[in-house]
């Protein structure tokens, strides 16, 4: 789960990083009140989960109440690359002497946490990594012992930060690592980490992603993220314990097993179709589960045809077929379905489907054949 800037900053503050005082608000009046309380100049920042907020006009400096009102008015509701701004973060504007970059992430290749630091802050770090790799300091951390203050200070020193803030930057790195570990983050990034003219080390932005698999031990994380901009079908699927990812096409796809569903999307695309979604039904074969899945797929109005790709292992195809029939009789979908049943009891499953003679439901044996058929059906309708 990706966090909004202000949510990330709250986690930063909890673990000892310095952030500016601020307030998250959702109305213009509240924005003005917050700005008056914090004291000018303030920054009005759009809270959306997409980069390039500044360029899109989503980050503005306000010197007085009139400007705060004007900016809040413009930014609330602003659509930034499809993300509608529903919350703005108002914080006291910071003076900047230097801008650094710091992050902690999981290096899947090394199977270790990776701390990255650069004195080239405030810009795209991938660009720094590409053009001036010597300015990006990287350190793998042993997750069993953690990041020591000595190691953090060495990163700051190697990075070439000013002598007088080496300690402060070291402390900030240790705190950032603590955020990463204790909040079960997959990414904790500060860009920029600034040095103020008063030589304070401060996180001016926050990018934090949390591991969904660790949610059970973080009840306090409930409600974080940008629920308002989440796809409603994805949200509903998650509530039902299903993984649904909305895509741009018109062919609904359901399968059992994440790898098989990804592969199904690819095969549909290879036959000239465009998938409308990823949906992993897991091992479920009963009518209630199939019905849930069909409802999710059809709640996307772009869907013109649906492909079910089932490879029965433990799941038996005859049971899946019966589940489908019960669900279809109940839902009476208006778009065609191609149902590919292969694996355990597949012949039986296809016979059951054919005997039921549901209108607009076609049984298929192979994945390629099913993909070809569903693409043709989507083009006809």
């Amino acid at each position: 789960m990706d966090l909004l800037e202000y949510q990330g900053k709250q986690l930063f503050a909890k673990h000892g990083l310095t952030v500016s005082d601020g307030k998250a608000v959702t109305t213009v009046d509240d924005a003005v009140a917050a700005a008056n309380e914090i004291g000018y100049p303030v920054v009005v920042k759009a809270q959306v989960l997409i980069g390039g907020r500044g360029k899109a006009g989503g980050v503005k400096l306000a010197a007085d109440e009139a400007e705060a009102r004007e900016h809040a008015n413009n930014i609330l509701g602003l659509d930034i690359k499809g993300h509608v701004t529903r919350t703005v973060w108002i914080e006291h504007a910071s003076d900047i002497a230097s801008e650094y970059y710091a992050s902690v992430l999981l290096d899947r290749s090394a199977k270790k946490p990776l701390v990255m630091f650069s004195t080239e802050g405030g810009i795209d770090i991938e660009e720094v990594a590409e053009k001036t790799p010597e300015k990006l300091i990287k350190l793998h951390v042993d997750p069993l012992t953690g990041l020591s203050k000595e190691a953090a200070v060495k990163i700051a020193t190697d990075g070439g930060v000013d002598e007088d803030v080496i300690e402060g930057v070291g402390d900030a790195l240790v705190a950032l690592y603590k955020v990463w570990i204790e909040e079960d983050a997959s990414l904790a990034e500060i860009n920029p980490l600034i040095i103020t003219p008063e030589r304070e080390v401060k996180a001016l932005d926050a990018k934090v992603s949390l591991d969904n698999n660790a949610a059970f031990r973080h009840p306090e994380h409930e409600g974080l993220g940008d629920a308002a901009n989440a796809d409603p079908i994805e949200t509903k699927a998650a509530e039902q314990g299903l993984v649904y990812v909305k895509l741009d096409g018109d062919i609904g796809v359901l399968g059992n097993g994440a790898g098989l569903v990804m592969s199904t999307l690819d095969v549909v695309a290879q036959h000239g179709g465009e998938p409308a979604n990823f949906l992993d039904a897991g091992g479920g074969s009963d009518a209630a589960k199939v019905k849930q899945a069909v409802e999710l797929i059809l709640s996307n109005n772009n869907v013109k045809a649906v492909l079910f790709n089932i490879f029965g292992g433990i799941t038996r195809c005859n049971e899946v077929a019966n589940g489908l029939i019960a669900a279809f009789e109940d839902l009476k979908p208006s778009v065609p379905f191609v149902v590919r049943l292969d694996g355990t009891n597949d012949v039986q499953g296809r016979e059951i489907l054919e005997a039921a003679a549901l209108p607009n439901v076609y049984a298929a044996k192979t994945m390629d054949g099913a993909a070809e058929q569903v693409v043709a059906l989507a083009k006809e309708s």
Binding site: S186, D211, A258, G259, D266
Partner: protein, 294 residues
Amino acid sequence: MSILVDNDTRLAVAGITGREGSFHTLNNRAYGTNVVGGVNPKKAGEDVEGIPVFADWKETVAQTQANTAMIFVPPPFAAQSALEAAEAGVALVVIITEGIPAHDELKLYNQVKRDFPNTRIVGPNCPGILSPGKANVGIIPASFFKEGNVGVVSRSGTLTYQIGNELAQKGFGNSTIVGIGGDPVPGSSFIDIIELFERDDQTDLIVMSGEIGGSAEEEAAEFISANVSKPVVAYIAGFTAPEGKQMGHAGAIVSGSAGTAKAKAEALEAAGIRVGRTPTQTAEIAMELIGAPA
């Protein structure tokens, strides 16, 4: 031969008393796997259809000489159970559980590597390991597969069955099928398993099935071109996956420009490894590489 599991496997199962755990354990035993025990601190002294249940891994290993552990316990406790199995001296720990926090996997991997270097972990979030005709450890539906000369290693369960079934329809059998799992920190990587297949005299061809996320396929490509003499055919899933979205598996995510299916297929092809564009095509390439099975 085959790799990892065979007639010498002595399997014990944590989570044996749960619904899934008992179902699959008994399935594994019915297949012929030597299941010697189970672990559940609350049900020590009981048995599951004749399989004795012990209080902890240490006791289980002492009483049964188990050399293989299968972990079915829920996500909050799975990594700890795997660690205790390693601590008890189990050589192979197969973690089926899906949904383990990435940090738990990370600590488990590093601790086992440091303190119990003779233990190998496979998984988490994997379907297990099947050596047809010898032993089945996990949830792979064994009836589709017969003994043969193709080794399969995959990040996905049902996709493994799909590709394995396509191979079976062409008459191929398998030395061993290894699911390494779809999580960000797998205990065994493609390289670890491919290295074993390279040394296995039963394996003539290696099929690897990867997917988006991370760089394990790219690393495998490099390893294969430098170290593997046997033919390898690859399949990659997720060409149509959008950036920044987890596609079911915790590890299946394209981050920025990293971890795309295209980059993986290109890296493999640049290393001289053929990549099937569909599961069917992957099986066809296998046939071209080693000919129709006798």
